[in-house]
Symmetry: C2
Subunit: 314 residues, 2 copies
Amino acid sequence: MKRAACSPIWQGAPRIRDFMLRLLQHRLDPASRLVRLMCAEYGVQLELEDIKPWSRDPALLEINPAATGCILVDAGEGPVVGVLGAVHAIEERYSPTAVAGLFPAQARDRAEMWRLLEWVLVKLNDEVTRYIIEEKIVKRDRRGASIEPGVLRVAKANLAEHLLYFNWLFATRHWIAGDTMTLADFALAAHLSCLDYMGDVAWDNSAETRQWYARIKSRPAFRTLLNDRIPGMPAAAGYAELRYLPGKRQPADLSLLLTQLGRLLSLRGWHKFLADNRQMAPFTAAEKEWFITNWLKGQALRALDVIGVGYGHA
Amino acid sequence: MKRAACSPIWQGAPRIRDFMLRLLQHRLDPASRLVRLMCAEYGVQLELEDIKPWSRDPALLEINPAATGCILVDAGEGPVVGVLGAVHAIEERYSPTAVAGLFPAQARDRAEMWRLLEWVLVKLNDEVTRYIIEEKIVKRDRRGASIEPGVLRVAKANLAEHLLYFNWLFATRHWIAGDTMTLADFALAAHLSCLDYMGDVAWDNSAETRQWYARIKSRPAFRTLLNDRIPGMPAAAGYAELRYLPGKRQPADLSLLLTQLGRLLSLRGWHKFLADNRQMAPFTAAEKEWFITNWLKGQALRALDVIGVGYGHA
């Protein structure tokens, strides 16, 4: 089993506790992704252990006879199996007092959060995600198994219906369950990030959901997912990550960088990049000129979306 | 829409609140049954409103676009949609302080409760209950729909696997999540009571689960479910209910009562009855004699299980 550590990466987070939480997960398991997002948001350090739940490893079955991932192991406690147990355990043990948590304070808002959390974890999973995971991830591992295009077609048609509903929600409110971000946003983001990795989200028809997704993806907590790569399966909707270091640029540096970036995206079939501009020196007049003429007007090979400051929309 | 009221029926329950909770439900929806059990256990009066979620009534879809039942309407609050929202709302608003609640106090025990609650609400539902409900309940309502025996066969085979796991659990612990009864017991009981009503539980091969089910069914909270009848669909595992009133019996009364009871059970194809013996005068010597000779030895037409005191095992 391969291990990777991920740590909270932003300023002002609650202090990291002394004990280490560990999550037994598959990288494209949406339930595990929800737990990872929640931990990252709360500043809880989480050690990841990659498993393949469908391999029915006897040691794993002993902990979880349901043969699913998303098992939280806390040093002082027994294992917490399943997404409901995990989100409750994290909320009870680690929810910050200093910053707003992911469970709304008002009863009515909490009810709306649970409604949409259930929508995502049960309905969306049941009608979309589990089929796509089964066909594209689990079957890659099974000798002689072949993908059933009919199943994928139905799952994608179902996803289109779900996206219509999410679009409607996001047209009427800022976050999925109301005006504040809640655990339900993270649940949806966890599912959509898996589906997006596999190239199954028709973003073009989903302007409202796309805008919300760009917003939630720009949260520092999301970096834990954005760095995930599945061996042998490059992200369908991959992006390049651009980091500016402090210092002075030579006149041709920017055009060279962006041209190379365009080539990289083109080579991978990607069309997005993430840029952290915080360390970047402002554009010079010549750079601005080049940027406007060549890059934005499409003279240079470029990404479709060019977003910069902070961890912008991808 | 038909309405029926059900009220908490035992002594020592927490005081009933002034406001009325209402549940929009189908009688064989396991999620709604879980909510009803929880309310009954906590002594919360609940008004029931029967709906058919699959009929996609526009007024219902406006409250719940997921087109499922289990919608809790609280006078002072907005509707709470879905089983996760409902159990949290009830726990937060109505959990008693005087008696032990359904959420264990210890973190480790709560985690085990969530694991098994998720098992029932997601895995058991997904592999068993929803198929049987769809075939036997929803399709009765759909013109031209015919039951698919293959689907029922798979669902019942899956149920047998689940029962093996539950048997194993109940062989090692008193309640499903440990030594105390929790919400997970009510969730499983809600599902099994629906499946049992439709005659789909192979109790003969499930001694441990059957014993647990008899135990949980004997809780007063359960009476809210035991009185349910689905129009046009008699319970497959029905039972007669016997109520003794205070007063003196004539010598032949008991044998007449039990003989008629046997006829009723035989007529309906049932083999169980529930008896509340609290008001019953003790057996006379002659009655005891008749009871032992004729009833218990099977000389009189009788039920297989003869259980009496309190609301005994059915």
